[in-house]
């Protein structure tokens, strides 16, 4: 072929020039010659797939089957159930690997998944609900909120579907939504409630012949669907469970309308009863340094606050029916009117199913299934009651329930009242197993008879009305309830927290509505038996405590509560319990103290007696609770002191030790002293007829021992202590000082300031000082070892209390002068050590010495007289010099020093004589300079001070 074309090529080239425009001859029967530019098509191609690369940069991550989110979502519309199911599984996989996709495609995801709630295939629905659960786990409620109408529409669709399977699966979807978005569901309850009703019943057609006993509300009847996989009883149970949870969500979403009022009537004593506004808690110190700003008035108080309890007259009601949800009392009532007959029917059916041989004695024994249906019925009744939007509506609703259904409830619920489980015979076990397998999907299968009974109590007890309204016929059904409650509590049955809470709520309601003394005593005694058990958990214990204390706070207007012996016994036992509890459980102690405080402030005699007898133990400085508990409880305990009718000497001694021992803060010690002051007859603040709790003598001795800060025993041991702990006496420091630790010193100093303030305000200062100096003379002058804090405190007190008209007696003066001199010597040594942390101590000591010296001129003279330079050893001379120059430099003392000029001159002469150093030392130079300045100053003002001498 190549050769032929080669030979032809030459010819063709030649021809080409003229052949260009030659006509091609086409003839019939001959094949058409190929054109020169014809494409040779006899090759084959092969594709190269780089799918991963391509996908990655176009449409995001994929599953292991390389399907992106768009593919998966579009597959959800596929006609084949398997494809849909695998797409759902794929979506779940994809989303769990890439959580960010959920955010991006939330709207499409939800709408597509929701559309599958009503899919015909069970597996698809199952997968859809799983995917929904997964999405719900990672998307918060506020982001789902815009799509929620869609979701709930599909949910309603599924719930009302004709196919039983879809209805059943709708329950699972509802579970998911209840778990994650209860608030959103509860926001629009109207349609869902109707759906619930339709799940278990059907609307009566109005055309049918009505039986005469059927009243107006009963247009619904329980339905039975034989095609279901489960028995109708179990089906109803599943529906009821969801309905219960749904109503619970609605109740929880209700904004709290009435804070405290509903607490008191509901008996929710577990709650703390705090207000709705969080108050601003400030402290004066922070405030005065402007660390915190106060902004109390929003919009400058021009408008009433939203919390105001004054209400304008409500606007005209928009005609709200069931369709408008549960926002009005009428709506709740009409919903209840539809639901309650159904519930009753279910109850009857459950109890009848259960006992085919129903013949008296076994009637109260139930199978677990029946039990759980009944339990759910009761739970929903309870929730219905709580649905009332406002407190006053609730009362109305209770009354309505009573009017409508009391007879029915009595007949059905109370007939076999304390219910129990029936022991299933052995041979039935196999069957049971099968059944339990079958119904494993239904949670909450096992309901204890106790829970059932307690719930029944609670439902029934709210139907009881206040005695004295003319109807006393409640007794017949209240008595079994009461005896059940009493027996349960008194027999020390193990109760869970929730059950106990419900039981106490029942007791609360009975006590408040029955208003009878015997009932109250009876029930409270049972609670008390329970309370006295040893091994209760903290939560239970505090629940019981708050039950009692709330009950006690209710006593106003309820004489049967106020006079209850059990309550009194409980109150009287509180202080003992507090003392016994010690520091083991501060939280419980705090609760106890709160209860005690409430009763004490009301002046409850029993409690105060108890408190009085155990006061010494509570306020023991070593192991009393007042030093063991945390600061807040300490403060409350200190405040309790105010209410003590009498303070014994022993108690005061304890208190004074508490103040000085440093185990309570200085501020608290100060407020303790102030409270004792207020309760003495000397405080001057007395409104009304309150007797002083303590005698003046005791009060003053309390102040004196707080002032000294050390007990007699401690001082005695100090006297005998070795030299290692105290500073040895020397001619310069005639007393041997015991250096108290810095912390104790400051604490003691604060206490001293407070005691001084109390002493100052007692009245006559001269008498007060007399007492003080007698005390010093009697107890302290013989001491050889004195703690420095005590010495400084005494000087401070003397200086504050004394005015010029009083002359202290000699032994006291001598003791004080010794204190003063020793302190000054200590000050010098402290200055040499000069750690800056003793600054406060140094200032305090110096201040005390100087103020004492300047208020009592004779003290100064005595100090100067006791300075015998000849007795000092050499290294003490500079110390003395420093003391003197410090005194000389202090201007307020200058005049007094000049009055003792001769004495001073003598000392200085001695000093110069005895310091035999060749070179004049610095301290001496300083001293002489100070002295000369003082003398020079003194001579100019001498005339003015002539009168000063007369004082000596």
């Amino acid at each position: 072929m190549v050769t032929r074309s080669g030979t032809a090529g030459m010819k063709a080239k030649k021809k080409k020039r003229q052949d260009d425009f030659q006509k091609v001859k086409l003839k019939v029967g001959k094949t058409k010659p190929k054109a020169n530019n014809a494409t040779n098509t006899n090759f084959r191609t092969k594709g190269i797939h780089l799918s991963e690369q391509l996908r990655r940069d176009t449409s995001g991550p994929t599953t292991h089957r390389q399907l992106g989110i768009n593919d998966l979502l579009s597959q959800l519309h596929h006609y084949n159930a398997n494809v849909k199911q695998s797409a759902l599984l794929g979506l779940k996989e994809l989303l769990s690997l890439n959580p960010s996709l959920v955010e991006q495609h939330l709207s499409r995801l939800l709408s597509e998944v929701a559309a599958l709630f009503t899919d015909k295939d069970g597996n698809v629905r199952m997968a859809a609900s799983r995917l929904l659960r997964f999405i719900a786990q990672c998307v918060p409620a506020e982001r789902v909120a815009p799509f929620f109408p869609l979701l709930s529409a599909h949910l309603s669709c599924a719930m009302t579907h004709i196919e039983p399977g879809i209805q059943e699966d709708a329950m699972k979807i509802l579970d998911v939504l209840l778990d994650h978005y209860p608030a959103l569901l509860a926001a629009r309850p109207a349609i869902l409630l109707t759906n619930f009703l339709e799940l278990i019943s059907h609307r009566r057609t109005s055309g049918g012949a009505k039986k005469p006993q059927e009243t107006k509300g009963r247009s619904w009847a329980l339905s039975v669907n034989p095609t279901r996989a489960v028995t109708s009883q179990q089906w109803r149970l599943t529906v009821l469970l969801r309905l219960g949870r749904f109503l619970q969500a609605v109740v929880e979403e209700r904004p709290e309308e009435e804070g405290d009022m509903s607490v008191s009537s509901d008996g929710v004593f577990g709650s703390s009863g705090e207000g709705r506004i969080t108050p601003l808690d400030l402290n004066w110190e922070e405030l005065s340094y402007s660390k915190t700003g106060v902004k109390v008035y929003e919009h400058s108080g021009a408008k009433p606050t939203p919390h105001s309890t004054y209400r304008l007259r409500p606007e005209v009601d928009s005609g709200a029916g069931v369709g408008e949800g549960l926002s009005s009392a009428e709506a709740v009532q009409s919903f209840a009117a539809t639901l309650v007959p159904l519930l009753l029917e279910m109850w009857v059916e459950a109890s009848a199913n259960d006992c085919p041989w129903n013949s008296g004695e076994g009637a109260h024994l139930l199978t677990p299934d029946a039990m759980s249906v009944m339990f759910q019925v009761l739970t929903i009744l309870q929730l219905l009651r709580k649905l009332a939007p406002q407190k006053e509506d609730q009362d109305a609703l209770d009354a309505w329930f009573r009017n409508e259904y009391l007879g029915d409830f009595k007949q059905h619920f109370m007939k076999n009242f304390p219910y129990g489980t029936r022991d299933t015979p052995k041979h039935k076990k196999k069957l049971d197993l099968k059944r339990s397998k079958q119904t494993a999907a239904v949670p909450g299968q096992t309901v204890e008879p106790l829970a059932l009974n307690i719930t029944l109590c609670q439902v029934m007890v709210f139907l009881s009305q206040r005695q004295g309204l003319g109807r006393d016929n409640d007794a017949d059904w209240l008595i079994p309830l009461r005896s059940f409650v009493r027996d349960t509590l008194a027999n020390e049955v193990k109760l869970s927290y929730k059950h106990l809470h419900m039981l106490l709520g029942t007791v609360w309601r009975m006590v408040l509505t029955q208003r009878s003394k015997t009932v109250t005593e009876d029930l409270l005694a049972a609670v008390y038996v329970y309370y006295q058990q040893r091994n209760l958990t903290l939560q239970t214990r505090s629940l019981l405590l708050s039950f009692y204390s709330k009950l006690y706070l209710q006593e106003q207007g309820h004489t049967h509560i106020a006079r209850s012996k059990m309550l009194c016994r409980w109150l009287a036992a509180l202080p003992v319990q507090l003392a016994q509890l010690g520091h083991r459980n501060p939280a419980l102690s705090a609760r106890l103290i709160l209860s005690i405080q409430a009763a004490a402030s009301r002046g409850n005699k029993d409690l105060l007696n108890g408190l009085q007898t155990h006061a010494c133990r509570l306020y023991d400085p070593q192991e009393g609770v007042v030093v063991l508990l945390p600061a807040e409880s300490q403060q409350r305990l200190v405040q309790l002191l105010y209410f003590l009718p009498k303070m014994s000497q022993a108690l005061l001694a304890n208190l004074s030790r508490c103040c000085t021992a440093g185990r309570i803060s200085a501020g608290l010690a100060a407020s303790l002293i102030r409270i004792v002051h207020l309760r003495s007859s000397l405080s001057g603040w007395s409104v009304g007829s309150q007797e002083a709790a303590l005698q003046d003598v005791d009060y003053i001795s309390f102040l004196f021992s707080s002032l000294t800060g050390f007990s007699a025993d401690e001082l005695a041991t100090l006297q005998e202590a070795g030299d290692d702990s105290v500073l040895a006496p020397s001619p310069l420091s005639p007393l041997s000082l015991y250096p108290t630790p810095l912390e104790q010193f400051t604490h003691h100093w604060d206490v001293v300031e407070e005691v001084c303030h109390c002493l100052e305000t007692l009245g006559s200062q001269s008498q007060c000082f007399d007492i003080l100096q007698n005390g010093i003379c009697k107890y302290l002058t013989r001491l050889g070892v004195v703690p420095d804090s005590m010495a400084a405190g005494l000087l401070r007190a003397v200086a504050r209390l004394l005015d010029l008209s009083i002359l202290p007696i000699d032994p006291v003066l001598r003791f004080l002068s010794q204190c003063c001199l020793s302190l000054l010597a200590l000050l010098i040594t402290l200055q040499q050590e000069a750690p800056s942390d003793t600054n406060h101590k140094r200032e305090a000591i110096w201040g005390a010495c100087v103020s004492a010296l300047s208020t009592i001129p004779r003290l100064l003279r005595m100090v100067l007289q006791s300075l015998r330079v000849g007795d000092l050893c050499e290294e003490e001379l500079p110390q003395l010099g420093q003391i003197l120059s410090m005194l000389l430099q202090h201007t307020p003392l200058r005049n007094h020093l000049m009055a003792n000029a001769a004495l001073l001159q003598h000392i200085i002469q001695d000093l110069t004589r005895y310091s035999r150093g060749e070179t004049r030392e610095q301290w001496l130079t300083d001293l002489l300079y100070c002295y000369s300045v003082t003398v020079a100053h003194g001579s100019t003002t001498h005339r003015g001070n002539m009168g000063l001498r007369d004082m000596y």
Partner: protein
Amino acid sequence: MAAPMEVIVSSDSGSQLWNCAVSELHSGSSLLSYRGGNTACRGLALLGSDYILGAQLGKNFINVWELQRKDQLQQKIVCPGVVTCLTAAPNGLYLAAGIAEAVYLWEVSSGNLLAVLSRHYQDLTCLRFTDDSSHFVSGGKDNLALVWSLASVVQLDLNHTPEPRHVLSRHSLPITDLHCGLMGPQARVATASLDQTVKLWELSSGELLLSVLFDVGIMSVTLDPCEYFLFCGGSDGNIFQVSLCSQSLSRDKAFQSDNDGNQVFKGHRNLVTCLSVSMDGTLLLSGSHDETVRLWDVQSKQSIRCISHKGAVTNAVITPAPANMFLPDSRPAAALPRFSRHLHTSEGEGGESGGVCVRPGLFTQDEDETHLQKAERLYSLMNAVTDKAVFGDGENTKVRVAELEEEVQTLKKINKDLYDFSSQLLTKPT
């Protein structure tokens, strides 16, 4: 018209010469003093502009003076027990006293004891009305302050025991003083207590707004009229000022080298038992157990004046001077009736009709018809007129019209006379 004059009314526990003294606010000159006995703490009350009342210290009666007759006791109201606190409604219609643990509420016009409220468990310490007299607050030694609505307390149904509107129960020691702000039911209430706190509450909701903890027990509290500042008198003699709307916290901080102490009024040496702020909020009055009353300038926190007393100061108030105080010839608009000691029962007052007999000025009216009866009479009269007008003949109507016109003329004349007479009375200088 000139600004109303403000006066200081103060009393103490020890003075022999007089019970309570009135002096001018700005000059300090002593104006009046009322004699007889001594007044207990928080036991002084001005009743309208006619009377001044003081609860006798340690005794079970209340002294009453007419404002213009300073020397003579008008009467003594004998009470069932020692009066611990006393207050009068600002509109002068009600009087409330704390006796032991009960609040006694009297109607001033009739002297009836309207209610005895024993909700407190211990002695009362203070009582205050709101400025519109619609509510009152009581504080006691049981740590509670109770807010009462006057309307719910004053009711005829005796079987129904009145309940307080709110129970303010966050204090842990006895309440020593309380102050009601302005704005009626929207007011704020400040309570002081021995537990070293001052708390500010909202009256309308009973919620706690603010709690300030001090180093000492607080014996007295007041707010200035704008409620910018809270003044708290401590048991150590200091008066603390808390600013309630601190705005420019950081701006002026640099200039104040010593922030501490510039919010404290220092001067008293003992419990500060009473505080009061002048109408313009610039002056603060304080009375203390150190037997002095001090007047402070709020802005600079200096003591302007110190008035010594003979005993612990029990009351010190700045109040606008009532007109009658300085007119010796004036007489009270209404005489004070006898105050009854026992609860007024409706049987006593011929209970034929369930209606209330409202008589604001007892002595200006003498007929005993109730409003219902009057209304009935008026109604029958009107009916009679219309009956006649509609069904009567023409001539009769003319006569009737003439009669009525004549009556209108006479009425107009009477009215004019009245007007002339009163304008003459008013314009004539006294």
